[in-house]
């Protein structure tokens, strides 16, 4: 059972966001980059599958030089192969990313594809289903539980107030939601072993893709801004619970008009 896990490297969720000088992007200076948290669930599921059924776990990413670090971290956790499509992400939209990944995946062998349900930061949640469409595969999106059988897969998917149980044929695209598993940490042995695994690095041109198909065609970011500063609200002492409750009630009724 061979898995491919598509990962993305994103700013740390603890990072303070500053706007770049062009007013259309964030300032990356001093920002620490991490593997997108949902991708960790995707990777863990693939590693568990390898442990149960054998096969390879290939981690694949599209991004600049720094993205190689995300691949190294994933190898240290238990991925067995790594592919880095090296390229600048500026002006690339989700369909552009999906096209790059689809082209790279076309050169690999796989039974199942994993991604996080979204890349934390850009928060688009688009690449998984787009990739499934480009590869003409079924998609199992926002998955909290997965069972892989012979040529088929059953997934629990989170929807509003309910859970859908979906059955699909393999190969399939699975996007991971929090709760799917508990991602492991890298062991020292894993970190050492990961250093010996070569990363297969390619360019967009190596994949036979034209830059025009992936960049700036369908949508452009015209502005990036911070949320407006909120005026400080009222702060009261809740030492007398009954009086505090009354004040909150007045606020809920008169200001929020929520009663």
């Amino acid at each position: 059972m061979n898995s491919i896990v598509c990962i993305s490297q994103v700013p740390d969720t603890e990072a303070r966001i500053r706007i770049g000088s062009d007013g259309k992007s964030i300032d990356e200076a001093g920002v620490k980059f991490i593997v997108s948290p949902y991708d960790e669930y995707a990777l863990e599921e693939a590693i568990k599958l390898k442990e149960a059924k054998g096969g390879d776990v290939t981690v694949l990413t599209f991004g600049p030089d720094r993205a190689a670090q995300a691949l190294r971290e994933s190898l240290a956790r238990g991925a067995t192969k790594a592919v880095h499509i090296k390229g600048d992400l500026a002006g690339v939209d989700s369909l552009g990313i999906a096209r790059v990944l689809a082209a790279a995946i076309g050169q690999l062998e796989y039974d199942i594809l994993f991604l996080g349900k979204l890349g934390v930061g850009t928060d688009n949640a688009l690449v998984g289903p787009m990739l499934a469409e480009l590869l003409d595969l079924p998609q199992l999106n926002v998955v909290t539980h997965l069972e892989v059988g012979e040529g088929k897969v059953t997934a629990h998917r989170e929807v509003e107030g309910a859970e859908e149980i979906i059955e699909a044929s393999l190969p399939a695209v699975v996007t991971a939601q929090k709760g799917l598993n508990e991602p492991r940490y890298a062991s020292l042995k894993g970190i050492m072993a990961a250093k010996k695994v070569p990363i297969d690095t390619k360019s967009i041109a190596d994949l036979g893709l034209d830059e025009g198909e992936i960049r700036g065609q369908r949508m452009t970011v015209v502005k990036m801004e911070l949320p407006p500063e909120k005026a400080a609200g009222k702060k009261i002492d809740g030492g007398d619970p009954a009086a505090a409750a009354k004040q909150i009630l007045d606020y809920i009724r008169d200001e929020a008009k929520a009663l």
Binding site: G128, L140, G161, A172, V221, P227, A245, R253
Partner: protein, 324 residues
């Protein structure tokens, strides 16, 4: 001139709230673009929604009236939605950012070779193009994107656009025929997980609890207030990670970004990831023992005190006020 097509969802025989919200902003975009508002409705009862869609300003309803579409499934809905788009040839396609909308929009966009602005909270028609503002970095910043390809597709964050009736007559129904695909994925079962409780994604009111609750059982003070207010129960990451409550209640980065009318945070200090996920709420009340808690920086009303005495008193006040 551009028409606006809203791909709608049905719940209990009516349009879902997210679909009514999409129609309402869709009507304004259509007016600005000199076009018409259109609805696409999928499922056996599709044409029966013509009246309701008309009330929200839809002139035409493209109905894929096939019972195989009653349950949302990616592949059949993508085929039907694409047929509706071809029949309507809109400049803009809108969907609610619901579980189905988020699953369908990217698949449809890839099939059409166009982009998607996801989870949008502001939309405008400017110089012949759709401009969409969307929270990024879980609300720590906003990106405005200009859609260059047609149709421009956007999914709309629940509660960001008010649902407003326009008082129109029933929409004219046009049947859409589509080729049902041999789906590779089928929904075998749908299980309710909230027992009918409201979900944080859709709720107008959210009452959230954090580490200050001390233990799982104490979520009952949160639940009781949420129930009295008719709201949903939210949670901080710490309490979800501790196993006190299910992840679907989690607000913030790695949870859900929400913007309800009223957000009550009790025992939540306000980690940056949590604040990012709820700071766009319209009215924020915070109750915390620690007067220095970061949550007070964004609260409209902050109460420094003990949630275990204040919340039950508030629940009683709410019940009294509602009974009156």
């Amino acid at each position: 001139m551009a028409n606006v097509l809203v791909i709608c969802e049905i719940k209990d025989g009516k349009l879902k709230k997210a679909s009514r919200e999409a129609l309402s902003i869709g009507r304004k975009i259509a007016e600005a673009a000199g076009g018409e508002l259109q609805a696409a409705v999928l499922g056996a009862s599709a044409s029966s929604l013509a009246e309701e869609a008309g009330k929200f300003g839809a002139k035409t309803l493209f109905a894929a009236g096939d019972a195989s579409l009653d349950q949302y499934e990616t592949e059949s809905w993508t085929a039907a939605a694409k047929a509706a788009v071809e029949a309507a040839s809109p400049g803009v396609v809108l969907l609610g950012a619901t579980a189905a909308g988020r699953d369908l929009a990217p698949r449809l966009a890839a099939r059409l070779g166009v982009g998607v602005a996801s989870d949008v909270d502001r939309l405008e028609w400017d110089g012949g193009k759709l401009k969409a503002r969307r929270p990024v970095y879980s609300g720590k910043a906003f990106a405005t994107v200009q859609m260059e390809a047609e149709p421009a597709i956007a999914t709309l964050r629940p509660n960001a656009f008010p649902a407003e009736e326009a008082g129109g007559g029933a929409a004219a129904v046009k049947e859409v025929s589509f080729q049902a695909p041999a789906s590779k994925a089928k929904v075998a079962e749908v299980k309710s997980t909230t027992g009918g409780e409201l979900t944080i994604a859709e709720a107008d009111i959210i009452v959230s609890g954090g580490r200050g609750l001390k233990e799982a059982d104490n979520y009952k003070v949160i639940r009781e207030l949420a129930q009295a207010l008719g709201g949903a129960v939210g949670a901080s990451r710490a309490t979800v990670d501790a196993g006190w409550i299910d992840h679907q209640h989690q607000v913030g980065q790695t949870g859900r970004v929400v913007s309800p009318n009223l957000y009550i945070a009790a025992g939540i200090s306000g980690a940056i990831q949590h604040l990012a996920g709820m700071s766009s709420s319209k009215h924020i009340v915070a109750i915390n023992k620690d007067a220095e808690a970061p949550i007070f920086r964004i609260a409209d009303l902050g109460v420094v005190g003990d949630l275990f005495t204040i919340l039950p008193a508030l629940t009683e006040e709410v019940k009294k006020a509602k009974g009156a």
